[in-house]
Structure formats: structure tokens, C-alpha cells
Amino acid sequence: MRTEDLITALAADASVKKAGLDQVWSVALFGGVAIAGLVFLVGIGPRPDFLAAVQTIRFDFKFVLTLSLAISAFAVLRKTAVPGARIGLPLLLIAPALGLLAVIAELIVLPTNAWAMAAIGKNALYCLTLIPLISIAPVIALTSGLRRGAPTNPTLSGALAGLTAGAIGATLYAAHCTDDSPLFVMIWYPIAVAAVTAAGAVLGRVFARW
């Protein structure tokens, strides 16, 4: 087929309108979060002393970490779906930097002999399984959103979809988990989120090519 002929066909197809990326991402994010929220509420729910826990700074800071990660990862993900856009990867350093500061503060505040117990916690295995489980819906929703975009590095974009989904899962799980020490949060949460990120990278590599 000659290129002119192809152009004729493409021009004839110009009237088909597609949703803009903003709309695609709103739907993907809303859908993913809604299903994850449902899984959370039906499956595990918030911890029994949720209202008392909200009064404590360690509990609240878990959400500062997970939400800052979710927001920054989502922002970078959206950039990578647009060819030629500046990506701004350093945004991803915000959450880890905040986490490190919290760890340093915790090490100063806690006596040395309490460190190990705070880090190991009581729920590490739950954390490692429940965060990925809650993240399944968001990672699928965000990867489908990615298919509507044009990621020029599908593996990286998929990893960012996984990172965003993992952070959403971690945010919900944090409301259930009774381990609030930054020492626990900065060891076990990142392992769980990294697993979702790796799964996202594979999904992106396979499904987000175009």
C-alpha cells in the first residue's frame, strides 16, 4: 500500500473521537480505587481502634507516606503515557525521603532495645500478602488506562502503574494494620509495594505495547 493511500484511509477515519487522557486516567483511578476499597472493606476493614489511632502521629504518618507515594507515582505515570513529555522521575524520591526522616526520628525517640520489636511488628506476613491483594484491581485498571495512552517505555510505565497501585493498596492496608512504627512501615511496606511494582512492569511490557 502506498503511503498516500494510507493517509486517505486515516483521513476518512478522523471523525472517530476518543476520550482524552485526562478522562481515561480519571476512570482508571476511580475504578481501581473503588474496587480496592471494596476489597478492603469486605475483606479486612479498618482496625477496631481506628478512631483512637487517628489521634496518634505514627498512625497518621503512614498515610503521609503512602499517599505521597501514590500521588507522585500517579503523576509520573501520566507523564510517561505521553510521547516526548518530560517525565520528572525525581518526584518519586519524595515519599522515600519522608520515610527515611521518619525512621531517623523513630530511632532517636525509641530506646535501642525496642528497635527490633518495632521493626518486626506483629503483622509482617499480612502486610506482605494483603497489600498486593488489595492492589490487584488498581494495577489492572491503571494498566488498561495505559493501553489508551502511548507509553514509549511500556516496562517503565507498567512499573509506575504497579507502584501507584501498590501505594493505593498500602494506603488502605495502613488503616487495618496495627504496626505503626516507621521502622515497620519502611521495611515491610516497601517489599510489598515492590512486588506490585514488579508485577506492573511485566504487565506493562506485555500489554502496554502499541
Partner: protein, 180 residues
């Protein structure tokens, strides 16, 4: 791409995205010239790749992904990034890797001469379509028939022709990745 050229192409694309597709063929022709110059420069004779295949594949991708361009951004970097992705992908399909520096793309001057190269990949992808889609895509592209002519000729409704055309083009784009 000069800033003036970028503005010209951006204006055309903004109009297309706003629903005025009268300048779309012109826009795609201009983009084809830009991409052809890049493809001919980036693809050496020994690569086993036909630059015109890259041009067509990039045009298809630009068409199907036009909603990803942000109207407040210059269009040149967006076009270069898609062309680069498609060149790298073409090499990948042939089991090779290529490193391309995006900054080279901007310096390439658009190729002005008209070329009549029969690209092979898209023809093979077209051959893989279902009969209905292939008839519609061929009628409109190769025979240059309008949507309404095609509808009459094939005894279909115009909306059905539009749907077949769009699905056929999307299927061709998807097939590209699987041809070797």
C-alpha cells in the same frame, strides 16, 4: 522542525482534535515527510528494514494516539518520540537493538520529494484482516472511495463502514507488532 512549522502542524492538529478534520490529510502528509527523512537517515541499507514501513507505521500510531498530544505543547517532540519508538520497535522485532538519540531527530529536515514506495508490512497486515474490514479499508485507501460510496458499493450502512474502517486500521496497527 522550525518553530513556524511546529506551529503550523500544531494548529492543524488542534483543529482536528476540535472536530474540524478538513486539514487532516495535509497534516498527515507533512508528518509523513518529517518521519520519512528521519527513517531514511536512521535506517541503513543493511538493516533489513524499509524506511517507508516505518513511515506508515508511525502515521498509523499518530492517528490512533492523536488524543495523547497535549494541545498546549509543541507537536514536534511528540512526533519525534513516536517515530523513535516505532523505529526501535521495528529493530526489536527483528531481534536487534538500536540506540537512538532523540536530539538528532529535531535537526532532520523534512524530505520534500514525493516517493512512491510500496511498503510491505502494511500490505501483509491488510491481508490478515477479515474480509469485511479488508474490503472497506482497500476501497477507501487504494481505490480512494468515500465513506458513502463504499457503503453503497458494499451494501452497508455508513456507520458500519466507519466502524469497519476504524477497527481495520486498529487491527493493522496491532498486527504490525506481530509481523517479522
Amino acid at each position: 522542525m522550525t518553530p513556524a512549522k511546529d506551529k503550523e502542524l500544531s494548529d492543524l492538529m488542534r483543529a482536528v482534535l476540535a472536530g474540524d478534520d478538513s486539514g487532516y490529510a495535509q497534516l498527515l502528509n507533512d508528518i509523513a515527510c518529517v518521519v520519512r527523512a528521519i527513517a531514511q537517515r536512521k535506517i541503513g541499507p543493511g538493516a533489513g528494514l524499509e524506511p517507508e514501513d516505518i513511515v506508515q507505521e508511525t502515521l498509523l500510531a499518530i492517528h490512533l494516539k492523536r488524543h495523547t498530544w497535549r494541545p498546549d505543547q509543541p507537536i514536534g517532540p511528540w512526533i519525534y518520540a513516536i517515530a523513535r519508538y516505532k523505529i526501535i520497535d521495528a529493530y526489536r522485532r527483528r531481534g536487534r537493538r538500536i540506540e537512538l538519540d532523540i536530539s538528532d531527530f529535531a535537526d532532520t529536515l523534512a524530505e520534500q520529494e514525493k516517493e512512491i514506495v510500496m511498503a510491505r508490512d502494511i500490505q501483509r497486515a491488510l491481508d490478515c484482516l477479515s474480509d469485511g474490514q479488508r474490503q472497506v479499508v482497500s476501497a477507501i485507501s487504494v481505490d480512494g472511495a468515500s465513506i458513502s460510496d463504499t457503503a453503497k458499493r458494499l451494501g452497508m450502512k455508513e456507520t458500519a463502514v466507519r466502524v469497519s474502517l476504524h477497527r481495520g486500521l486498529a487491527a493493522i496497527a496491532a498486527k504490525f507488532g506481530k509481523l517479522d
